[in-house]
Structures are given as structure tokens and as C-alpha cells.
């Protein structure tokens, strides 16, 4: 069974999903950070594939993308780094990025490599749902790779249903209308949106992302979903600390304290 599906079956709440950019702060930090996150108690991880034009990302992730590319990160390099990761990594692993590098690599080739190294799912925010269903879904299915879709407070119920019917694993529930790295936290306005989505009785669990940064915001988000996703706040942790392992352990423990 796909590791993402299995995770939510066995562990339906308080799942911490952490995003980090591959090849950042240093080119060879990818595996170190991945292992540290597992050791520190993250439940799943999203490895960001850096892109020159990340339109859905705020400044923190933009800078990490730019630095990673300057370090020499590429899709090919990432698959090299992830080879044999399943010897030590048991967590579900997703890759997150923009569609163009995947198209250049070749969608089939990309999915095949994902399956080979043990990647469980993809998040490609600028891949249109229709395009996925018409062209790419059979390839994803063939290699057992889940495609994770985003919904936002502006997404219509009809579209949420369409997305729910065509996805597996989880749905990425963007907390507010913004790019990544917003400082809003979880506000009262968002609760109506979370409640609306929860009342829809969707097939898939949801993870809430954007604006989650610490224990408080994580716990609040977990009241409305199966867990939450931390991105920019974690990028700042690895950016600011020399001792990655220690910093990651401290940060993840603080987010999940008492849980």
C-alpha cells in the first residue's frame, strides 16, 4: 500500500508534514535534513524541487529555491541524492515543485524515478486538474505515485468534490488566499472555511498548510484537519542554524510537544 494512504489509516490526526527545499542550505543537505526530520518525529515530508520562477511562493521559499539552484541542485541530482533512501527512511515522502522541470525531465521518466527511489506522491501546484486527468493520471497510476491537489478558501464546492473524487492520499488545504510564508496564522475567518470543507464529508483527509509556524498554529490547524504542513518557518530553521540535526530536533519537538 502507498505509504501516504497507510499513514492516514493508522494515524488519522495530528500529522506533521514538513516542507524543505532540496539542496538547501548546502547541496548535500537533502538527505541529512530528511533523516533528521524522521528522527525528530515528523510524520511525512515534502521535498521541494527548486525552480527559477516559483510564483506560488513567498520570499523565504523563493530565496531557498534560488540558493539551491546556485548550489547546483537539479531534478537529476535530487534523484541521485534520494537513491537508497528507503534503507533508512520509513516516512511517506512527497516531492513538491512546479511543472516545467517535470515536463523537461519527462513525466513518465519522472514517475518511474520516483517509484524507483521510493517517493510516494507529488504536489505540482501549477499542473491543471483537467490536464492531469486527461494526460498524466494513467502514468501516475502505473507507477503508484499519488498526485496531491490544493484547495483554497475560494475553491468552489463543486471543484472540491471533483478534486476529492480524483485524488488519493490527502488534500492540501491552503489556509488563506496567499503565497507561502504568510504570517497570518490560523484566524477566525479560516474556521468557517474549514468547517464548510469538513461538512462535505470528503473521501480524503486534509492537511492544512500556509501560515503554520509553531506549536500553537499547528494545534489549532489540527482541530480542523488530519494535520498540518509547515514550510517557510522550517526553511528559516535550517537557514539560521549551523547544527542542522540539533535545530531540527528542537524545532519539531517544540511543534509537537505533548502530542
Amino acid at each position: 500500500m502507498n505509504r501516504i494512504v497507510s499513514l492516514f489509516q493508522h494515524h488519522p490526526s495530528h500529522n506533521l508534514n514538513v516542507y524543505f527545499t532540496a539542496g538547501f542550505p548546502k547541496l548535500e543537505d537533502t538527505r541529512r535534513i530528511l533523516k533528521s526530520l524522521q528522527d525528530a518525529g515528523a510524520d511525512l515530508v515534502e521535498i521541494g524541487m527548486p525552480y527559477s520562477d516559483p510564483v506560488a511562493d513567498g520570499e523565504t521559499i523563493q530565496i531557498s529555491n534560488q540558493q539551491a539552484l546556485e548550489n547546483g541542485m537539479s531534478v537529476k541530482k535530487l534523484f541521485d541524492q534520494l537513491r537508497n533512501m528507503r534503507d533508512e527512511i520509513k516516512l511517506p515522502v512527497l516531492l513538491m515543485g512546479y511543472i516545467n522541470p517535470v515536463l523537461q525531465f519527462g513525466v513518465e521518466n519522472f514517475c518511474q524515478q520516483c517509484a524507483e527511489v521510493g517517493v510516494d506522491g507529488l504536489i505540482l501546484p501549477d499542473m491543471p486538474v483537467d490536464e492531469y486527468l486527461e494526460t498524466y493520471k494513467p502514468i501516475f497510476d502505473q507507477y503508484g505515485i499519488l498526485n496531491i491537489f490544493l484547495i483554497t478558501p475560494q475553491t468552489s464546492d463543486k471543484r472540491i468534490r471533483q478534486i476529492d473524487e480524483n485524488s488519493a492520499g490527502f488534500i492540501y488545504m491552503v489556509s488563506s488566499a496567499s503565497v507561502t510564508g504568510s504570517q497570518t496564522g490560523v484566524t477566525h475567518d479560516m474556521e468557517a472555511y474549514f468547517a464548510r470543507v469538513n461538512a462535505m464529508n470528503l473521501r480524503n483527509p486534509r492537511l492544512i498548510g500556509f501560515g503554520i509556524k509553531d506549536h500553537e498554529t499547528f494545534v489549532t490547524a489540527c482541530q480542523h484537519a488530519a494535520g498540518a504542513i509547515i514550510g517557510s518557518a522550517f526553511i528559516r530553521v535550517v537557514q539560521q542554524n549551523e547544527n542542522l540535526e540539533e535545530a531540527i530536533t528542537t524545532y519539531v519537538s517544540s511543534v509537537k510537544q505533548g502530542l
Binding site: Q66, N100, Q104, P125, V174, V179
Partner: protein, 398 residues
């Protein structure tokens, strides 16, 4: 017409594609905005009160129709018959305002109160700031930090018109990055803001919508040519291509007249093998940028390459999906014009005709030596803008 019912092989289809190019590759955060636009733009454009207001402003505010001018001394020099379509005489100095008027009228009818835009040379930014002043709407323009430096007069114009100019500091700090920032701004302000894209790029329906607003250029050319020559069809139409909006407008009503040769001038920079170029069709491959699938300058890894052109308005690593399709289907012929060739053509037009062209438009003029048109052939060159904004560059060559 409220649905896309295009018979033409060169027009967008109902899925938002030109051949294999186009579509709407956007993050979910932009989907409701783009969907709203897609579901409404044809309906709104077809409304008689929209058309009245649009045509009225094009006439009384922009100064349309712009002249189609027989450039006699230039014709003598190249031994053919050359007409210049004088978009440089539009209010604000370029064709860009045809589109901004159309889009702001549309934005008003969608109930939007604020406008965001990107700009390269500053011409689109000025044209957007202008219509925002006209309509009393708040205006934010993103502009690459490098372009802010090299197009200072346009920055001042935008400020004088009441717009806020925000520097784009990421990436190459030029047009592509300003576009990224404008898209991020739209993501952050999804309900009250309309994004006025400045060219035939972006997710569907932008390329088609902008092309429709610019199509007034070829509509007028046809009428004017008929009056002047007895035939509405020229042998050649030449235009420069950054994103491709002036070219889309100049080509639009000739797309299905296959006897009319369509010629696009891209920015070759220091030359297509120099590493400092913006000649997308020569250097690019199929890919996705700013919401559409098109031809794109990129690395093997799919990272977008930073382009170079002396002309800020052509300094863009992609082209609109319509042009990618015109290239792919060989309907249009593409030339890469170097920085030096464009400067020489700007100097030539100034001396021969007393018209100082924009650097972008000078790229279209620089196709003339390659064209080898005969004396009884008719060549229409779209003079997309005037050169006032480029004087600082031109001064270095005087």
C-alpha cells in the same frame, strides 16, 4: 458571440489552446480569478455598452485610428512599398493602451476595485497607470529593479499618474520577475483586484483576450490599405515580438489570409550564439511559464534562462502561445535581430522619416534588409511605439 467558435486554425480553441500551446497552468490559488475571467470575457466584450465605451475611448482618448503612413524615403531605400502603422502616435506612446483600456473596462464590469500589472519597458505600466487614473482605480505596478534603472522616465510617469511602482528584486530583476511578483500579488488579493497582463501571455483566456483588444490594429490596417491601394491585403506584415501583443494585433485579421506573409522580429541581443539573447524561438523549447505552455528559453533541467536584450520590452524568455503556434506551423517567419541592428534601424528611421521609434519597434524595422521585397509589393511595419523612453540608450550612439 459568447462562446469560442473559432474556425481558424490559428485562433484559440475552446480549451484555451493554439495547437499544442496555451492552456492555464496556474496554482489553485489563481483558479477562481482566472475562471471568472474565462467565463465572462467574451460575454462582456460582446455587450453593446462595453463596445460603445471601448470604441469611444479608443477614438477620443487614445486617438484612433492611428495613421497608416506611406514611408517614401524608407521605401526608396529598400526598393519596395513600406507603410508604417503608427501605434507610436497612440496616447502614452505605444500600442499597449489598446489592451489596458479594454481590460480596465472589463475589470469594472467584474466589480473589481484595484489593478495590478507588471511592466518591462514601462510602456505597459504607464498605459495601465493611465487608465487607472482615468477610471479612478488604485494601481500597483511591479517592475524589475534593473528596468526601473534603465527606464527612469516611465517610472516617473507612472508615479505622476498616481500608481505605486514596486521593484521586483527576485531572479533576473526584469520583466519575467515583475510578472512573477504581479501574479503573487494577485494570489494575495484574489477578490478585489484584477491583473492587467501586458501581453499575449499568461493563462487562458489572457492571450486571446489581449489579442482581441489589440486586433484593432489589423482591423484598421485592412481598411486603410484598401483606401490607399485598392487592396486590403499587403504582402508582408512585420512586427516585433516580446510577449507578442503588438504582433498579435497586427497579424490578427490576416491570420487566415495565407497570401499575407507574417514576419516576427525577436530580440537577438548580442547574437543567438552569444549567450546574451532573448530570441525565444531560436533558443527555446516547449515549456510552461506564467501560466501557459509555449516556447521558453530554459536549461536542460527546466529552469528559466535569463534573457538579454537592449530593449526592455523584448527582454523576456518566452513568447505568447499564439506565436509559438504560428512559429510551429510556419505561418509566421521569425527573425532574430541583434541589439546593434536595432540601433542602426532606429537611427535610419529617424534620419529618413523624422520618426524616432521605440527600441522594440526598431527590431521590426531591422527586418527590412533581410526581406528582399520587390518594388510592387506592399510591406506593413507595425511601429509599436515611440522612442522618447529610449533616449538615454540612443544618446550613447549619437
Amino acid at each position: 458571440m459568447t462562446a469560442l467558435q473559432n474556425q481558424s486554425a490559428y485562433q484559440v480553441n475552446e480549451r484555451g489552446y493554439y495547437g499544442q500551446f496555451g492552456g492555464a497552468y496556474i496554482p489553485e490559488m489563481l483558479y477562481p480569478n482566472v475562471e471568472e475571467l474565462r467565463d465572462n470575457y467574451l460575454k462582456i466584450i460582446a455587450q453593446s455598452n462595453f463596445q460603445e465605451e471601448f470604441q469611444g475611448l479608443l477614438r477620443d482618448y487614445v486617438g484612433r485610428p492611428t495613421p497608416l503612413y506611406l514611408a517614401q524615403r524608407l521605401s526608396e531605400k529598400y526598393n519596395t512599398t513600406i507603410y508604417l502603422k503608427r501605434e507610436d502616435l497612440c496616447h502614452t506612446g505605444a500600442h499597449k493602451i489598446n489592451n489596458t483600456i479594454g481590460q480596465i473596462l472589463l475589470a469594472k464590469r467584474l466589480g473589481k476595485q484595484k489593478i495590478v500589472a507588471e511592466t518591462g519597458a514601462g510602456q505597459h505600466g504607464v498605459a495601465t497607470a493611465t487608465v487607472c487614473a482615468l477610471m479612478g482605480m488604485e494601481c500597483i505596478v511591479y517592475m524589475g529593479e534593473i528596468d526601473i534603472q534603465r527606464q527612469a522616465p516611465n517610472v516617473a510617469r507612472m508615479k505622476m499618474l498616481g500608481a505605486e511602482v514596486r521593484p521586483a528584486n527576485s531572479g533576473s530583476k526584469t520583466l519575467k520577475d515583475a510578472t512573477n511578483e504581479a501574479m503573487r500579488h494577485w494570489i494575495n488579493n484574489p477578490t478585489d483586484t484584477h491583473y492587467i497582463i501586458g501581453s499575449v501571455v499568461g493563462p487562458h483566456p489572457y492571450p486571446d483576450m489581449v489579442a482581441r483588444f489589440q486586433s484593432v490594429i489589423s482591423e484598421e490596417i485592412k481598411k486603410q490599405l484598401l483606401e490607399k491601394t485598392g487592396s486590403e491585403l499587403p504582402d508582408y506584415v512585420i512586427a516585433c515580438v516580446g510577449g507578442g501583443s503588438n504582433a498579435a494585433g497586427a497579424f490578427y485579421h490576416f491570420l487566415d489570409d495565407e497570401s499575407v506573409k507574417l514576419v516576427a522580429a525577436e530580440a537577438g541581443g548580442h547574437g543567438i550564439t552569444s549567450g546574451l539573447s532573448a530570441a525565444t524561438t531560436f533558443l527555446g523549447k516547449i515549456g510552461v511559464l506564467h501560466g501557459s505552455k509555449s516556447i521558453l528559453m530554459q536549461t536542460e533541467d527546466g529552469q528559466v534562462v535569463e534573457p538579454h536584450s537592449i530593449s526592455a520590452g523584448l527582454d523576456y524568455p518566452g513568447i505568447g502561445p499564439m506565436h509559438a503556434h504560428l512559429h510551429d506551423s510556419h505561418r509566421a517567419l521569425f527573425y532574430a535581430i541583434t541589439d546593434d541592428e536595432s540601433i542602426a534601424s532606429a537611427m535610419e528611421l529617424s534620419k529618413l522619416e523624422g520618426i524616432i521609434p521605440a527600441l522594440e519597434s526598431a527590431h521590426a524595422l531591422a527586418v527590412l534588409p533581410y526581406l528582399k521585397a520587390t518594388p510592387n509589393e506592399t510591406v506593413v511595419i507595425n511601429l509599436s511605439g515611440r522612442g522618447d523612453k529610449d533616449l538615454a540608450t540612443y544618446m550613447k550612439y549619437l
